[in-house]
């Protein structure tokens, strides 16, 4: 486990005497997570002169952007501290919160450092937001990324490859480097390292959740969204090394829970902390899923664009936004529950989130087949009151500790 957390490539920062401590690293990550104005992106642009392109959840081929010298910037809406002034005027009360905070950030200038925005096909709200964005911000490159729901290489694969080539052309037309196979291969290699570190951190959390509090890991993953892959990799590696070396963190009598449903609009950090304080070790989750959307490494041999396409087709997770053509709905959740030794499942979805909430009855049925206890609640990214959820999660954790298994 710990070996996996050693960086595969040497990087200078952690070897220097001024390497971060756990406290400074987490503080830096939280600073990046909280920075609506994307100062890190602005600095990167000033430093490199490159393009920065934002993307919404869940999956975009970041490798392709990086290969063209473009900084991919993950956007996940706002938080409880973002005052929505204009965004609410664009949405009815029965629509989730992430599009209104995204609009708010666009209109208040926070995202004006971005040269474009990518809207992956995950639901009708994000889809329609792409059209609004096209009208509201005509100067930006706006692309709706129609990820295929057909996973046959000769059908969906051909279409997806065409989508990626079109995206690469659009980026090049905006001044990015043309897409070259070697650069793409190098970017894939860099992201393979990055994803492997995330997988290792998730594995470490499964084994020793007291070492890796989710509220901490979460901000590190969020910070990674606005950093170039090399810096993100360094941060992840440092974080892994530092938590492993941290002696003060001891196991507590908490319930091990898997959290499902929070893959797009994210809960406020306070809610994650609330769950932990309520007696839950979150041993697996759906947060910031782009880091884990592909299960394994993308092969480096052969045509790198084909490899990128095949990775999406063959190695993508069973996201609620992805049609499960073969296999059984909820099977992956059951498998994750087993692998993480979860004692319970928290269905924790944003209000009005179609993919999560329409999926939920099928997932509930799946975990019930394994007699795994579950509970469900909803949130919004700007939820400010957690008392009810704390009581619910606390009762759930207590019930697990008192009545489950042993």
């Amino acid at each position: 486990m710990s070996a996996d957390l050693a960086p595969r490539e040497p990087h200078s920062e952690s070897a220097e005497s001024g390497a971060p401590t756990l406290t400074t690293l987490v503080a830096r990550a939280e600073e990046l997570y909280r920075d609506y104005r994307l100062e890190a992106v602005r600095q990167w642009k000033a430093r490199t002169g490159g393009l920065a392109v934002g993307y919404l959840p869940i999956y975009v081929p970041r490798e392709l952007l990086a290969a063209q010298g473009v900084l991919p910037v993950g956007l996940m809406g706002g938080r409880d501290d973002l005052e929505i002034i204009k965004g609410d005027a664009y949405y009815q009360s029965y629509i989730c919160h992430i599009p209104r905070s995204t609009i708010e950030l666009g209109l208040n200038g926070s995202l004006d450092c971005l040269d474009g925005l990518l809207f992956p096909a995950i639901c009708d709200v994000i889809r329609n937001l792409s059209g609004m964005w096209r009208m509201l911000f005509p100067g930006q490159l706006v692309r709706y990324l129609d990820v295929p729901q057909n996973f046959a290489p000769e059908i969906g694969g051909r279409f997806w490859r065409h989508e990626l080539e079109a995206l690469a052309s659009d980026l090049a037309a905006r001044g990015a480097r043309p897409l070259e196979p070697e650069a793409l291969r190098a970017a894939i290699a860099a992201y393979n390292v990055n994803r492997a570190l995330v997988r290792a951190l998730y594995a470490l959390r499964r084994e020793q959740p007291w070492k890796v509090p989710t509220s901490e890991l979460y901000v590190v993953l969020r910070a990674s969204l606005v950093l170039p892959v090399e810096e993100s990799t360094a941060m992840l590696a440092d974080y892994g090394r530092l938590v492993l070396a941290e002696e003060g963190r001891r196991p507590m009598d908490q319930a091990r829970v898997l959290l499902s449903g929070s893959f797009c609009e994210q809960p406020p950090l306070g809610l994650i902390k609330t769950l932990e304080r309520a007696g839950c070790y979150i041993v697996d989750d759906d947060f910031v899923q782009i880091h884990r959307y592909l299960r394994g490494d993308i092969p480096l041999a052969g045509d790198p664009l084909d490899n990128l396409v095949r990775a999406f087709l063959d190695d993508g997770i069973a996201s609620p936004t992805r049609y499960i053509a073969d296999g059984v709905k909820g099977e992956e959740l059951r498998q994750r529950s087993r692998e993480s030794a979860a004692e319970g499942v928290l269905f924790c979805a944003p209000s009005f989130c179609d993919p999560a909430l329409l999926d939920q009855p099928m997932l509930v049925e799946a975990v019930e087949r394994d007699a795994i206890p579950w509970t469900a609640f909803k949130y919004s990214e700007n939820s400010g009151q957690f008392q009810v959820i704390r009581e619910q999660a606390g009762t759930f954790a207590d019930a697990i500790k008192l009545w489950s298994g042993a």
Binding site: Y94, M135, G156
Partner: protein
């Protein structure tokens, strides 16, 4: 959408002979449609005995001609859901689905359908619907479709054929998009239909269906465009949901549909010649006061009440977007028998909710102009993010570009809890008053 007697039939008055109270007088086309639907549901009910196979699918992007070319019977869960709404059954169905764990936040068509299924799967004619032999997931313009059929697959344990139709985000159909759909038709959908039906794909048979589709589409477009006249002989929203029934559902490509639209066109032509306004359930609109374009689906649980709120004010819908969800024909598209699979792909790609927001806005602005409308109204339904997300932006943009005022009301498709009659009526009345004031201001 299809016409099955859930509510009192429109009762024409004026030049038509007055019907006795409670008795609806039907035009010839209405009777024909009713008979078509009854025959279809009879076949469905008898399917377990006759061995006919049924395919559940969706209205947008439906492949009726293709299914019919295999002698397969289409079943459209959306239509069952809206019929449940009109027949006052959806509330119980939704409650049952929510009791089983379906969120109050999600599409009520889905929950109504699940509730109906759990209650014995009795369709709008009171007959039991057959179990699906195949779920044809035409994933066109609505993400919820994907989840809906995943849910149904869990219940029915039957095969699913997926047809992913790319979204027209940039307002055009590219060769890659068309090719992707055609590839799926050839590689996935047709083989699935062959397996279910036991028949080989017969392209000549499909061409015949498509030829008939185009004939019916010509007549439908003529009927819808008759609303360009002042006064309009039709209501292109409430009334037109009946008109689009056959072509949006199980009948496109059939001789029945051709005959229905020919007859409907003749009837509307006669109304136009006589200078008559639209027929509503409460009689004819004798004085057209306001011409409006409507964006969004109707509310089905209070459909008649909703319509009356318009008719009482002399408001006539002269164009609507809902009547384009099963195909946008008035911009020129026709099914083309010379390119059978490509034309099916173009049809699927062109359905209204598969169009990007900028295209939807352009269409509304065009309708306002071409149909000489006074303004437009958005009925924003809670259930349908495909329609609703972005409608407030549409409202502002269309107002800005057309210079015509927009109104905004909120309801739902089939959940009666979200139809607040007093609130909606109040908003509509205020809106029509605003149109009146604007008109007075213009003439002052």
């Amino acid at each position: 959408m299809s016409r099955v007697e859930p509510t009192p039939e429109p009762a024409p008055r004026g030049a038509h002979a007055a019907a006795a109270p409670g008795e609806a007088q039907k035009d010839s086309s209405q009777r024909r449609q009713k008979e078509m639907i009854a025959r279809h549901y009879d076949r469905l009910a008898a399917a377990p005995e006759t061995g006919e196979k049924s395919v559940y699918t969706f209205v947008p992007g439906n492949l009726t001609e293709l299914l019919r070319s295999f002698d397969l019977l289409p079943v459209l869960p959306e239509i069952n859901a809206l019929q449940s709404g009109m027949r006052g059954k959806s509330a119980d169905y939704i409650a049952l689905a929510e009791k089983q764990g379906h969120s109050e936040d999600v599409c009520t068509y889905v929950k109504s359908d699940i509730g109906m299924l759990e209650s014995g799967n009795v369709g709008p004619t009171g007959q039991r619907l057959p179990l699906p032999d195949l779920l044809l997931l035409s994933y066109t313009g609505c993400f919820t479709f994907l989840k809906w059929f995943e849910l149904l697959r869990e219940k029915y344990r039957c095969p699913v054929a997926m047809l992913h139709v790319p979204y027209q985000a940039e307002g055009k159909i590219t060769p890659a998009m068309r090719g992707y759909v055609v590839d799926q038709l050839r590689g996935e959908v047709i083989p699935a239909l062959e397996r279910i039906s036991g028949r080989r794909y017969d392209e000549d048979r499909l061409r015949e269906q498509l030829r008939r589709s185009a004939q019916a589409e010509d007549d439908l477009v003529w009927v819808l465009q008759s609303a360009r006249n002042v006064p309009s002989p039709i209501d292109a929203f409430f009334g037109a949901v009946y008109y689009v029934g056959p072509i949006f559902s199980a009948f496109r490509g059939t001789e029945d549909a051709v005959a229905y639209y020919r007859e409907l066109r003749a009837e509307v032509a006669e109304r136009l010649r006589a200078g008559k306004g639209p027929v509503t359930p409460d009689g004819e609109v004798e004085r057209e006061r306001y011409r409006v374009v409507v964006e969004g689906p109707p509310n089905w649980t209070s459909f008649r009440q909703f319509w009356k709120m318009f008719a009482d004010e002399g408001a006539v819908a002269v164009a609507s977007t809902y009547t384009k969800v099963g195909g946008v024909y008035d911009l020129g598209f026709r099914h083309d028998p010379e390119r059978p699979l490509e034309t099916l792909a173009d049809y699927c790609l062109g359905c209204y909710t598969n169009l990007g927001l900028p295209t939807r806005i352009e269409l509304l602005v065009r309708y306002l102009d071409e149909y000489r409308a006074d303004g437009f109204l958005i009925n924003s339904v809670k259930s349908c993010n495909s329609f609703s997300a972005g409608q407030l932006h549409i409202l502002r943009e269309v107002e800005k570009r057309s210079g015509k005022p927009g109104g905004f009301v909120e309801s739902d498709l089939v959940d009666p809890r979200y139809f607040s009659a007093a609130n909606i009526k109040n908003r509509l009345e205020s809106y029509f008053q605003m149109l009146e004031q604007k008109r007075l201001g213009a003439t002052a």
